[in-house]
Amino acid sequence: MTPAEQLKQNSVTLASNAQHQDGLAAHRGEALDKLRLLPFPEKKQEAWKYTGLNALTAGQLERVAPALSADADIASSIPSLGDCLIVVGNGVLTGQLPAPNGLSITPLSADSINDASPDTFFGWLNTASLSHGLLLKTEPNVKVAGIVHLVFFNQAQTPCHATNRLQIELAEGSELTVIEHYIGSGPILTNALTHIQAGANSRLTHYRLQSESADSLHIGNLQIDQQRDSRVDSSQLMRGNVLRRNDVHVRMLESGADLAMRGVFIARDKSHIDNHINVEHVAPHCHSDQVYKGIAGENGRAVFNGRIHIHQYAKGSDAGLSNNNMLLSNEAEIDSKPELEIYNDDVKCAHGTTIGQMDAGQLFYLRSRGIDAASAKRMLGTGFVNETLHAMQDEAVREWATQWLGEAL
């Protein structure tokens, strides 16, 4: 048996053991059937060309994450970013669910679960191993006040698998600001799946903050479906660790949808981070704008694959994607690949990618004013991503991000 076959078998066994009789049993069973049919991701598949999953042979797919010990001090590691805090520890909700005006927050049930899982191996594994999911659902034409801060805290001493599942549904004309925030430590694999459905004329401000410690692993799927005239503003901040992989899939299903998506990813030391973004303009007259900035230092490794797919009937599409990257050392590596697929001729589409080093002239200028080399590099790295951080709408998150960036650089 090859290592990939072994990992596949481990995944299937993990999911099989998760089967039990509750409301979600049928969904889990179907996902397990799907999982059995899919090959385990390997470098020979284009989508996994730069990311090997050998790290998972340590046993992350052999055990479900144990419940957090009662004395785990989660609270002290959570910054105060929002007005409404929800904490999920190793996949299980801790504490009570708050009930802000205009928003219902409930466990995900058989009736409410969105079956259109991202069609990826780990997406199906997520559903097949799911027992606790969360559903956030707004009431129509209501602006939910404040920021909902969802913390997914995953921590373990030995390799194991934690399933995090979030479904966000914005009813017509509603507005919501939500942070999904991943923290924790240890050799635990976070398998996160977030499904967002932005209803007609709704507005979502979304943050995806991934700041687990360097010894953790994270494979995430983010699916965003947009309906008529909806607007989604999504900011994604990611720090490299043993293994980080994010698949983001946006479908602009009805006309007038607007997407602003930005991200900053930083791979230092020996960390790894892989972003696969796919934005599909299915309906006409939608607008998408993506800006991603990457930094890799020491032996860090980052991957960015940004695909824009304009469908045949998506006339009048306006899509932009830029990915600029900075290398801090000779050993660091960033592989960036923008992909455009356009099936009609009435589109405006721009994409570009750059990879450069820190500018020696800028570094000298700062040092000639007394600023030491390490601080100067930090300033230049911060300057490089600053415009992306400044574009984030909420000040509390911006401040957190600035501090996060300082620590990461």
């Binding site: 200028y365 700062l366 040092r367 000639s368 004013r369 007394g370 600023i371 601080s375």
Partner: protein, 251 residues
């Protein structure tokens, strides 16, 4: 203050300075003039410690300390300031943030308390006013989108805040119109003091109408070939560099 003794320096293996000797005492203003390619900018960059500018023999002492042993930032903290010929644009880093980091580093090295935010801002605004730079420039990225004259004034503004012991002005006058030149000169003159030395590196005599030097040196082919008082600059203005270097020159 500054002792340069038989300095030889190379850039990418090519010797540019070939035995330069210069002594600058506290309170003195020296002008170093010379034709293009004579080594003027190399001297500035060697003194500031830019990578790739290698001292091959001779030595440079700043207040008795060999500069070769000091990193670029250590030189700045010891009190050396280089006003760049081509100030660098740094988008994303605000001028104010940069000034704060710079002042904190330099003041800490000199055993001074960091300035509180209010004082820092007040001083920065005063310095801006002194060089006719709108305060809006404090919020913008360092030199980002500044015109040539604005960049040079930004250099002088930083110099006024950092109060260096030794200020090196590398062709600060080049590309400036007369009005901007006067503003820059006013800023430099305001810094003249018995404790501070200033070295002006320039191609043109024009700047010396506004900043009157104590000494003028002519640099050619990596050496100082003639030194004199301020009247030497006027002589150069009339005769060009050719009568000293023995070459035809259209300056």
């Amino acid at each position: 203050m500054l002792e340069v003794r038989d300095l030889h320096a190379a850039v990418e293996g090519k010797e540019i300075l070939k035995g330069l000797t210069l002594t600058v005492k506290p309170g003195e203003v020296h002008a170093i003039m010379g034709p293009n390619g004579s080594g003027k900018s190399t001297l500035s960059n060697v003194l500031a410690g830019r990578d790739g500018y290698e001292i091959t023999s001779g030595e440079v002492l700043f207040e008795g300390q060999p500069l070769a042993d000091m990193e670029t930032e250590e030189r700045a903290r010891a009190g050396i300031f280089l006003a760049f010929q081509y100030p660098v644009e740094i988008p994303g880093v605000s001028n104010m943030e940069f000034l704060k980091a710079s002042l904190e580093a330099v003041r800490a090295a000199q055993g001074k308390e960091p300035l509180d935010a209010v004082t820092l801002l007040r001083r920065a605004r005063e310095a801006c006013q002194h060089v006719n730079l709108d305060q809006q420039f404090l919020k913008r990225g360092v030199n980002e989108g500044f015109s040539g004259g604005e960049k040079k004034r930004n250099e002088i503004m930083q110099m006024m805040l950092l109060e260096p012991k030794l200020a090196l002005l590398d062709e600060t006058d080049s590309g400036l119109d007369i009005d901007a030149l006067q503003v820059v000169a006013k800023g430099v003159n305001a810094l003249r003091s018995p404790e501070r030395s200033i070295v002006l590196v320039t191609h043109y005599q024009r700047l010396l109408d506004y900043i009157v030097p104590d000494f003028v040196h002519v640099l050619a082919d990596g050496r100082i070939i003639k030194s004199g008082g301020k009247e030497l600059a006027l002589e150069l203005e009339q005769k060009g560099y050719g009568w000293l270097t023995g070459e035809e020159e259209s300056a």
